[in-house]
Amino acid sequence: MRLAIDTSGADQAMVVLDGRRLLAADDWVRRRDDPPVLARIVALVNRGGGGPDDVDGVAAARGPGSFTGLRVGLSLAAGLAYARHVPLYLIDSLPILARRAIGEPATVALRDAGRAEVYAWREGEPVRRMPTDELAAWLPSSARVMAEPAGMLATWSSGHAHLEIPLAGRRPLSAALLDFAIWTFESQKPLRYDEVQALYVQPAAAEERRRKAP
């Protein structure tokens, strides 16, 4: 049984799978008084019909996203994989987010980065961080955008609201995570346990310039 977790955003999820078969899934929205994520893992693995001895691979989302959420997910994944001596994988959060689109994955994924900035990813490029007022120039006119939080594209770049995939067009995060986890377990190389690191995306170049300006 393999476990995949994504605690990088406001919507969080985990799945346990056997080969390509989903055994159990959990979706939740992050709240301040949430029970510890480990309690969810314990319950999920039980629901999947197993126990700690059955976990033989772990994948965790590495961001970008909430520092707190990432630290929880990555340290749980590292501890589990290390203790069981099983393969550990880190997966990129925004391509997972893009796969929340029903049907074809979104071509662009955006996640709120605070301070009027977004983490922005488009197919075939590394994730970047940019001020929201630069989005208009960066967004391809044919983009299908998955935004988090949902509905925010109208606020970030008002002329492009129509590019955002509406709520009705998205599926639970766990479904996207399952797809991405299957691909990862089948085709990616596991990490060493001391290589666990969140993806920290540096501020956009424009922001850097602004900060250095007198």
Binding site: P36, I41, P52, S75, L76, A78, G79, L80, D194, Q197
Partner: protein, 313 residues
């Protein structure tokens, strides 16, 4: 363990070098480094102890207080390992652990005792009562003792961390050269901002400082802090005699504090100051605390979160 705890290994990975250029701890840098070093440090602790996971009976971890980003990583790595290996977990207080570290020196450590925890983040005077409860009877109103050393060091142009730097420089100085005011706070509380300001004035009123003057200032400043700390311990002892006194926390490494504590308290109670390496933050003290907590309340039944404002219990 009827004969008390036996320490097999105590691996410390200090981040001082990472933070030194910033003159203090940078939470973001600390948390990033934690994520990558924790598993290797655990591995090294097992190797040094000549132990395999199959021989480990339980896992202890700091629940708080501290920097949330760092606590999160420890709490989650530890509990994930424990669950995966079906081991019990004890979450302990970092502050209580500074007191319970004394158990590694004194296997028969029992309440009641008086404890002084002095570090970069805390100056707490506590009573560990006979019934097992811990009560804080004095705390700082402003800076912690370690902060007072760090800020004093900065004023004297010494590097971070300030405590060891002042300790070293003070060795060549006269502690009576400058009569710094003794910090006064109500009851058994501490206050160090006044003496820090006094040091600043002393430095500013001189156009230049000879090496001897700097050493004298360091020695006098250190003496004021040490005196203030011990004065409160003596006052607590006078209020309620206690057979045992424990000093802990990074500032308890300070040589003048150790020496003066022995002189002033040694004849009035059994004084335990753990070896310097057990005073600075370390994992052995967390293990010692877990043994005490295990006796007191057993392992934690369900997964728990990090708690940056966790107290002594």
């Amino acid at each position: 363990m009827a004969s008390g705890p036996r320490l097999l290994s105590n691996v410390i990975r200090s981040q001082d070098e990472l933070h030194a250029p910033f003159g203090g701890i940078v939470p973001e840098i600390a948390a990033r480094a934690h994520l990558q070093t924790l598993v290797p440090v655990i591995e090294r602790a097992l190797e040094t102890a000549g132990t395999r996971w199959e021989q480990v009976d339980g896992v202890a971890v700091t629940r708080g207080p501290g920097l949330v980003g760092c606590l999160l990583i420890g709490v989650n790595v530890a509990q994930a390992i424990a669950w995966a290996r079906k081991l019990p977990v004890v979450g302990v207080s970092h502050l209580a652990a500074h007191v319970f570290a004394a158990q590694l020196e004194e296997p028969e450590l029992r309440p009641p005792l008086l404890g002084l925890v002095v570090s970069g983040g805390h100056s707490d005077l506590i009573r560990w009562q006979k019934d097992g409860g811990i009560t804080v009877i004095g705390r700082t109103r402003d800076d912690a003792a370690g902060e007072a050393f760090d800020k004093g060091a900065r004023i004297l142009g010494l590097p971070f961390p300030g405590g060891p730097a002042i300790d070293k420089l003070a060795a060549a100085g006269d502690p009576r050269a400058v009569a710094f005011p003794r910090p006064r706070a109500p009851g058994l509380d501490f206050s160090f901002s006044g003496v820090k300001t006094a040091l600043l004035y002393e430095v500013r009123k001189r156009t230049s400082l000879s090496e001897q003057q700097r050493a004298d200032l360091a020695a006098s400043y250190q003496e004021a802090i040490v005196d203030a700390l011990l004065q409160r311990v003596e006052a607590a002892l006078a209020q309620q005699p206690t057979p045992t006194i424990v000093l802990g926390g990074g500032v308890a490494r300070n040589r003048r504090l150790r020496e003066a504590a022995q002189q002033r308290l040694g004849s009035r109670a059994h004084l335990v100051i753990p070896a310097p390496d057990l005073c600075t933050d370390n994992a052995a003290m967390i293990g010692a605390a877990a043994l005490i907590e295990w006796d007191r309340r057993g392992p934690d039944p369900a997964p728990f979160d990090a708690d940056p404002s966790f107290g002594f219990a």
